[in-house]
Symmetry: C2
Subunit: 487 residues, 2 copies
């Protein structure tokens, strides 16, 4: 009845055994090894939950069960299971649903804490450098909206190899980000430049860059593309473009004095993580039909030395083969950097997965609800539903619940939902309001899916982060008493 | 079974008959007459709904009913009733609930359209002048939060005699405004100064002024005070103060470079509209125990000539009797102006209502849900529940529904709810998103009060306003087909 872990593990193991030879000259092999170590460590932790619990379940009526169960939990998962649950097993049987949710939330907590305390992706040292690169390219901020699909959750750190923090992420189903929210974000950034000169002074001729990332499947384009756009690649791309245009017009029309932004449209093949970047049309907007493709450039430059490869990439961008307009100079630099970064990711997938990822479809471990989870950077780990209230975000969550009905509920397992809201610690009452928001949304979720709620098949774990500090997340509530205790 | 209109009308009539003699020397008598004309005109229109429908109901089986009913509707209410409803009356009987909601919405629509097209309170000519006054006092913006209570709905235009537009209103239950929203608003205003020099340049030494207005009842302080604070005047005042402080700290702590705001705490007696203004403590914050009272100053200056009265008021503010610290110079000017403005309102109530308003409690005609209704300026006309989603705003609406269960449902009448959201017309898709917000919230309201919804005792009317234009509101949906037709 449990999820089949074997398929994934086998594929990973096969991949690991392949010799990572024939890398592209611009691929950063050492970075790939680090990213792979991080991915296997975190995904391994989630993958061990089911087999470990399964083994524990098999022994639940054995003598000395409690001690031996805790021993294997600690050894395999890194944390103990709730004593009460184990102690009561002799009366009836172990509540495996509760233990599964408990283990998922504890594994998430460990991963999240590790991210904020140990910086495993080395985001901090990269952040400063990339801020400079971005400014030299003519942009004082870069805000990326990938689709909320779990197969895009690694867009920033893996596919684009960019440091979170310097780059802002606003995932959204179908890349259809909230224009009003984007406008507020833009206003806050511009005010920071005027008031505080951060990251540069307001009169510097740089622009705010908004990026929309749509996705498609090269292997099974009609079924494994973007669900929000019926797996229609062109529809996904043109929806992203329309949203970018809406945001640009919103900035231009609600602020005078030449206010505007730069926009960029990119596409990601979820089977290979290959990146395509759209070139501008005559009006400077991304053109749906003009693009540079990192896969093609990979092949065209694989036999060159690094500098020649770089030159060839820059040429493909600066002098498009169709003779159409090139991007502006700074945008050319940024595009070249994104393409070069993506070459490493193409090799990453080739090395560790082979021709394409083994999991073309959904294999997420939990649903994330609320604002961005800065610590989530792994493909197919999290289905993310952005929302401030379920009233506004219900359509996004409905899709995720359907996915997890297949992944978990069909096998008797509950759907683990992690809530996340941000607050600013120095604002009086802000934390309390964020806690209330968690409570409200958790209640609304139970009401929306009563068939699951009644059977304990939805479990929630409430987390907050104070954006004014570098601290890890804080758990402020849970549907499982074992994962949270009021202090 | 209908609401008792007599009590209110009698009280108003008695008041009208009193000679408006013995006005305060600083009272603007002509302005009072205009405001009174507006109040009687609008409230009269709502007051005529029940008697008119009652008379029509009595004749529903008479010959020539349809023609005569439409004639009296047009004559008394200014609009026709839906033909279908009248034509079908012979089958069963008139659907008085639907007709009542129809008439309420149509009356609201007429009032609202009149406000935006004819400027009946002469807001536009006053706005420019007051902008200058405010800047001279050292403030580039003034944002007031009165309690959402219907007895405070006339705070800006009547009690304080200030022009909407120049003064922003953010009503909120118990004056407990949303700090995060207030911070966003502040950021938008400051960005406007930096980018566009509106209303003045960012380096001008002016401040953003946030005002919290609590309320109390001098006649029945224990029962008719602020419901959100259990009719405890001191609790209401100190909650307003705490919210002002939270907002100030939010600005100071999320923005550096000396960012701050000015704050002002005022109290309003809902029986007499008398204003009290809190003086600052040593730290410059409003002091709960130090205040100037417009009622006392009215009596102390009633026998003086206008200039001496003004001087006496300025002295009371500049040299507080307790010897404590006076407000800063610009704030003194603003306080003196508010006190002088309020003297007119004190006389307004004395002239037209007598010693106190006849309606100490709730007598609202409809519930407003959503963002601010710029056109609502009359006491006890609207119970207002601010919200972007019902998930966040439900506690506010619950209070309003309880009030209207007594006012309307107990007499068999439905609760008319007008929804209102703003959008910026030039932002692509913004109107469509605002329509969706109305639809979502209307659906959520029906779900939250199923006992009322099932019996047709909740009716909703969906309105939008494009804040980038001076146009009237637009109706984009309704639970009553007779008040809205898709075009
Ligand atoms: Zn998608
Ligand atoms: Zn999907
Ligand atoms: Zn009240
Ligand atoms: Zn109140």
């Amino acid at each position: 009845a449990f999820r089949n872990e074997r398929l994934r593990d086998d594929a990973l193991q096969t991949a690991v055994r392949q010799k990572p030879d024939a890398l592209h000259p611009l691929t950063r092999a050492e970075q790939n090894r680090q990213l792979w170590a991080y991915e296997t460590r975190v995904k391994g932790a989630f993958a061990r939950i089911v087999p470990t619990l399964r083994a524990i379940a098999a022994r639940q009526h054995a003598p000395d069960f409690e001690r031996s169960a805790q021993e294997s939990a600690r050894a395999a998962l890194g944390f103990a299971l709730p004593d009460d649950a184990l102690a009561d097993a002799w009366v009836d049987r172990l509540d495996m649903r509760a233990l599964f949710a408990h283990a998922t939330f504890e594994t998430f907590r460990a991963m999240s804490t590790d991210y904020f305390t140990a910086d495993p992706l080395e985001t901090h040292p990269q952040a400063r450098d990339f801020q400079d690169v971005l400014l030299r390219c003519g942009f004082h901020a870069m805000n990326v909206t990938p689709c909320a699909d779990g197969r895009l959750a690694h867009t920033i750190s893996y596919v684009l190899r960019l440091p979170m923090g310097t780059v802002q992420r606003r995932s959204s189903a179908g890349a259809l980000f909230d224009v009003e929210e984007a406008l507020q974000r833009w206003e806050a950034v511009e005010l920071g430049r005027f008031r505080e000169g951060v990251p540069n002074l307001a009169d510097a001729p740089t622009r705010y860059l908004k990026v929309a990332a749509y996705h498609y499947s090269s292997r099974d384009p009609d079924h494994q593309g973007c669900a929000a756009h019926g797996s229609d690649t062109r529809a996904a791309a043109s929806a992203g473009l329309a949203q970018l245009r809406a945001f640009r017009l919103a900035v231009e029309n609600t602020h005078c004095c030449g206010a505007s932004i730069a926009t960029l449209l990119i596409g990601i093949d979820t089977d290979t993580d290959r990146l395509r970047i759209h070139l501008p049309n005559d009006a400077g907007e991304p053109d749906l039909d003009r693009l540079v493709d990192a896969g093609g450039l990979y092949r065209a430059t694989a036999q060159l030395d690094p500098e020649s490869a770089r030159t060839r990439i820059r040429e493909a961008i600066a002098r498009p083969r169709d003779g159409g307009p090139p991007p502006e100079a700074g945008m050319q630099d940024l595009m070249a950097k994104l393409i070069e970064n993506n070459l490493s990711q193409i090799d990453y997938v080739r090395t560790y997965a082979g021709e394409h990822y083994p999991d073309a479809g959904h294999q997420e471990r939990f649903i994330g609800v609320g604002t961005d989870f800065e610590e989530v950077h792994l493909r197919n780990l999290t289905y993310f539903a952005f929302m401030r209230t379920l009233e506004e975000g219900a359509p996004n969550l409905d899709v995720g619940i359907e996915i997890f009905r297949r992944l978990n509920v069909a096998h008797g397992l509950p759907i683990p939902i992690v809530l996340r809201f941000h607050y600013t610690g120095q604002v009086p009452g802000a934390r309390e309001r964020a806690v209330q928001r968690c409570a409200r949304i958790a209640e609304a979720i139970l009401k929306r899916y009563p068939d699951l709620a009644e059977r304990g098949l939805i479990q929630t774990y409430w987390t907050l982060r104070d954006t004014s500090r570098a601290d890890p997340i804080e758990c402020v509530g849970s549907s499982l008493p074992s994962t949270w205790r009021e202090v």
